[in-house]
Symmetry: C2
Subunit: 239 residues, 2 copies
């Protein structure tokens, strides 16, 4: 099966979560809009990314991953396992929205410069309250996986899932966006960093990450580095 992925060609964005799964599995896919930017959104799609698989058109990042997961060997095939990995992915999706909204708390269609003041407040809250909450949660999932009969290393145990690839992407993106603040936090979450490193070392992904197919992080994506948001001051003080 040749998969066709449709996503903005200039950013990692949400499409990257799909690209990582396709690359890790060595799947046959075309990143269509990087070859040709002319397209029209199919009626059933609210927003990019979407995936064409034969006659199917599937949208919503987590939904695409849910479809691809068992087919690419990146998710369990039983229902309980599929629901669990999807639950993790949906939590990552929530987390990602919050990352996006640090620089766009007022409107996704407006320039960052129009909402910089609000972005500072929102980012302070995100770094002080929300980000530690997500990190603690995924740390707990990894701790539980270690205690499980299958042994640890990844969110589901010994086998890497698409949620692990997404967790890798969260770490990579947060390092780019908030080198100071996240640099401080990641020291307290060794298990999450280990998943990042394990994913980055997977042979196909290592090759992908070193290739030109991996679009660099930039100021158009979801993870953005604005030094004024990545404060070195204590984040919990009132603004």
């Amino acid at each position: 099966m040749r998969y066709l992925l449709y996503y903005w060609p200039g950013i990692q964005g949400r499409g990257e979560f799909i690209r990582l799964a396709l690359e890790d599995a060595g799947a046959d896919y075309v990143d269509v809009l990087r070859r040709s930017s002319s397209f029209s959104l199919p009626e059933q799609v609210f927003a990019l990314p979407y995936l064409v698989a034969g006659k199917r058109v599937i949208s919503q990042t987590a939904n695409i991953l849910q479809y691809l997961g068992p087919r690419l060997g990146l998710a369990p095939k039983d229902e309980a396992g599929r629901l669990w990995v999807h639950q993790l992915q949906l939590t990552i999706a929530d987390w990602l929205v919050e990352v996006h909204d640090t620089h766009h708390p007022i409107g996704s269609g407006r320039y960052y410069e129009e909402q910089r003041r609000e972005a500072k407040r929102r980012t302070a809250d995100f770094l002080a309250v929300r980000l530690p909450k997500y990190l603690d949660y995924f740390d707990g999932v990894l701790r539980r996986a270690e205690r499980g009969y299958a042994g640890g290393g990844y969110l589901l145990g010994r086998a890497c899932s698409y949620a692990d690839l997404s967790l890798f992407q969260m770490v990579a993106g947060l390092r780019y966006a908030f080198p100071v603040a996240f640099g401080r936090l990641e020291k307290r979450h060794a298990r999450i960093v280990e998943v990042h490193d394990r994913v980055a070392a997977r042979p196909r992904l290592a090759a992908y990450l070193a290739s030109r197919r991996r679009i660099p992080f930039n100021l158009q994506g979801i993870f953005r580095h604005y030094p004024e948001l990545d404060s070195t001051r204590k984040k919990s003080k009132k603004t």
Copy 2:
């Protein structure tokens, strides 16, 4: 199967999307925290709601609905149909986050009063740009369903799905939160209003909505009515 739903007992919130499905199907369930408020969040759950079904613990609203859907007769059983209704539900989930963030654009753990100024800007953008985009999309889905071989009436055609119940809830909530602004918009989206009315008239749901089990909308929930946000002025002007 008796389902146990865990959600905040004082608000409709995200739990309401699950309650509507369980009520419409006449399922055997307990809204646990409305009987007893003492509980501890299971390790695998990031946030309420979660559902206990036998030995399973399932979280993330859309994931719970995906699990319940085929079991309650509120989703197709084939993979393509399940992916499609889930895609719609995930789009509603995105929409709901944007509704929440109209009154909490800075931090979900802070009081509205601490972020009222930002809330005004965010709401203006939501009402002018984002809300019409969501309404247009679901209108298009309903238009396509009408053209389909199965006939229209609901998002998937003639059969009501959990996504239709959720669309009902969006309309009900938006009417409460933004009577002026949404009152104007809904006139242009008759198909969506028809789904709302059809869902509200389903016998078990009509009984539920008239019962004390349906918690009234209030200022602690996701949909909140703050008159200063529901402006009667044109929303697209620069603030």
